[in-house]
Symmetry: C2
Subunit: 410 residues, 2 copies
């Protein structure tokens, strides 16, 4: 017997979906439904709920700065626990199943511990098990390097594992199970009328992922785009159809804007009166990168007397660290000042329609201006416009932009 | 640079020794002392304290009878957590160290999940790391089979891992760290004057291990005997010399008895009035083996009318299960009766001196008789005598036997 590619289905269940043994049993029942429809099911699971946090806490009791190799060795146990328990739960309801660690399917990565990149997957063991009508359960987030060291893939790693497996197996679809029903036109907690999108393009999903929509990690989306893997973001709590993440099509371009998002977890750092000479910005962002601070928006403007101002946003959690780095640089430059503003929000509109429609940014700026909402920073991509505004105006701004682009009728 | 075999030291730390992160730090400091004396240290660790129990409990929430393969997959994570944390603790005090799972050193076993036997160990990775002056930390209790399935070695598995590594590396010594100072002439909790033995033979240790002295598992001792590995049983809480487990020498034979033990965790099952025909005993013990009940002492006697009585002891925890098996057999035989007695104790004297001295058993029986202690079952080996007596007389019996063999002057 051989395995029909069209019937291979990869399902990824996150930490919440397998957070307790009760939840694991529910996931097992769900898998059984697909198994009985003659799908060849490959399941990728994350560590149970907060178990990764517990392992991190344990390591912190020993070392503030543990070696990346040993941290990966430690964290990889979380997924190994999940796969064993899920296999047991499937056996309990008479579904043949077998679990695999990253090492066992030779999920080869480079040697960058804690943020490894997948290089190759050996599908032989999985195909052999699928041929025997077994469900394969694979530990997400982990792999091994050429020397058989255990590596982990960093944040969102299980999503990436799932997509990589779907690509390697040429699976029909890769389902990403989460605790929401799919991707929405806006956060339903803020805009109750927000609608679930039936499909969205990879690029739009990438922008939304980086805007913190939170359902899917950027790296997994990039991987899916590269290998043309159809993603299906859906809830593990019901059988509703979720959102398909697919290649762009012409239908999508008819919409001006696909979704709007609001991000309130960033703060702005403004570095003013710094010399206008080459290399200043490079020094600044290299120094921030060295201490692993991710910078989101960046705006530079030239002021009087050839002095520049650079503003950038970072996560609120990182802002004190960022300020420290900046002040050290200012000392070394012998010039400039720095200030921090935590009361900002970033509002964004995303849509591939922007490529073919002009004036979208202007409409967004206009509606904000008409309502007395000041725009403090602007950043755009081909399919995204983001504005920094005052935090206390942000919910109002979200509703205005949602409405101006006609998303309530989408 | 090559690795001098004479300087290879294998150390095994059990679950209590690495029960908390504080204890792990203490173990790391201890390892550092040996490392700084230029030993090539290979450390084998068990899972932290009760973590294996916690994993078992988790599996029970899902299945009463989980698959052995998935159980091994689950349990192996316990040791993996320990090795990562211990490596971090060593780094923290500037000792270069690297951790290895059973899979990573290709610790090959047969495919009998939950009770696998070690077949081969690849020492290349370990020797390479030792050459680089690194401490190697190996996950005890686990290996892989030819298909790369994760296997575990059963009870006392980490001891066996340590001995197997010591044998494969031709190490100077294999230190087994535990929470007691070594092997005693009797349980110091019961005989406060009990003395620590400076050395003991493999065979004596085997008898003591099976008598529940608890410091070392029989399989590890058998392995050590087979490969002539010197074991050193000692405490991880101090630097006292412990007990060496070594090949028998003539000195040892001068002593009549090396140690006495008392076991109170067994119960006796008596099967009476059963037909005296071939195969009856075989049927009985095969049926008990089928449900994984370990039988310790067995005594058979022939009564009147060609009817037999067979008495045997099993762990108190297993006695109800054993009784059930027996009653089913009695039904199929259409004859006999069964009774259970939980108020027994097994007292034993062990010593290689028994081989060369006559009358030891007689002295033991005599002192018990003189003190009105009835012997209900007797079982002997070349170097051991065990008697079943009433539970409430057992502490008294222990003291009498300890004294009659002059152990207070040993």
């Amino acid at each position: 017997m051989s395995v029909e590619k069209e019937k291979i289905l990869v399902q990824k269940y996150g930490g919440t979906s397998v957070g307790t043994t009760e939840r694991i049993k529910i996931v097992a029942k769900r898998i059984k439904e697909y198994y009985e429809k003659n799908f060849h099911v490959i399941v990728v699971v994350s560590a149970m709920g907060k178990s990764t946090d517990a392992l991190v806490a344990l390591s912190k009791e020993i070392s503030e700065n543990p070696s990346d190799r040993e941290m990966d060795m430690l964290l990889a146990t979380g997924e190994q626990v999940s796969i064993a328990l899920l296999a047991m739960a499937l056996h309990e309801i008479e579904v043949p199943a077998v679990s695999f660690t990253g090492s066992q399917i030779n999920l080869l990565t480079d040697g960058r511990f804690s943020k490894a990149r997948i290089e190759k997957i050996d599908t032989n063991k999985l195909l052999t098990a699928l041929e025997k009508k077994m469900v394969c359960i694979v530990a997400g987030f982990q792999g091994i390097d050429l020397e058989q060291n255990i590596t982990t893939l960093g944040r969102g790693g299980s999503d990436t594992s799932a997509v990589a497996l779907a690509a390697a197996l040429e699976a029909k679809e890769c389902e990403i199970y989460t605790d929401v029903d799919g991707v929405y036109t806006a956060d339903p907690n803020k805009i109750p009328a927000a609608k679930k999108l039936s499909k969205i393009s990879y690029d739009e999903m990438l922008e939304l992922a980086s805007l913190g929509a939170g359902v899917l990690h950027s790296r997994a989306v990039e991987f899916a785009k590269k290998y043309n893997v159809i993603l299906h973001v859906r809830s593990s709590f019901n059988f509703n159809e979720g959102t398909l993440v697919v290649p762009e099509d012409t239908d999508m371009e008819k919409l001006l804007v696909t979704a709007v998002t609001l991000k309130k977890d960033e703060a702005r750092v403004t570095v003013s009166d710094i010399p206008d000479r080459p290399g200043i910005a490079a020094d600044l962002f290299a120094a921030l990168g060295d201490v692993s601070i991710n910078v989101d928006m960046i705006v530079q403007s030239t002021g009087k007397d050839n002095l520049n101002t650079i503003s950038f946003t970072v996560l609120k959690n990182d802002v004190l660290k960022a300020e420290k780095v900046v002040k050290e640089l200012l000392t070394s430059w012998g010039a400039g000042g720095a200030s921090v503003d935590k009361n900002i929000a970033i509002i964004s509109a995303v849509g591939v329609g922007m490529k073919s429609h002009v004036g979208i940014a202007a409409r967004m700026f206009k509606v904000l201006a008409e309502n007395g909402i000041n725009i403090e920073m602007i950043s755009t991509s081909e399919i995204k416009i983001s504005c920094v505004i005052r935090d206390d105006k942000s919910e109002e701004a979200l509703k205005l932009i949602y409405s101006i682009f006609g998303l309530e009728n989408a």
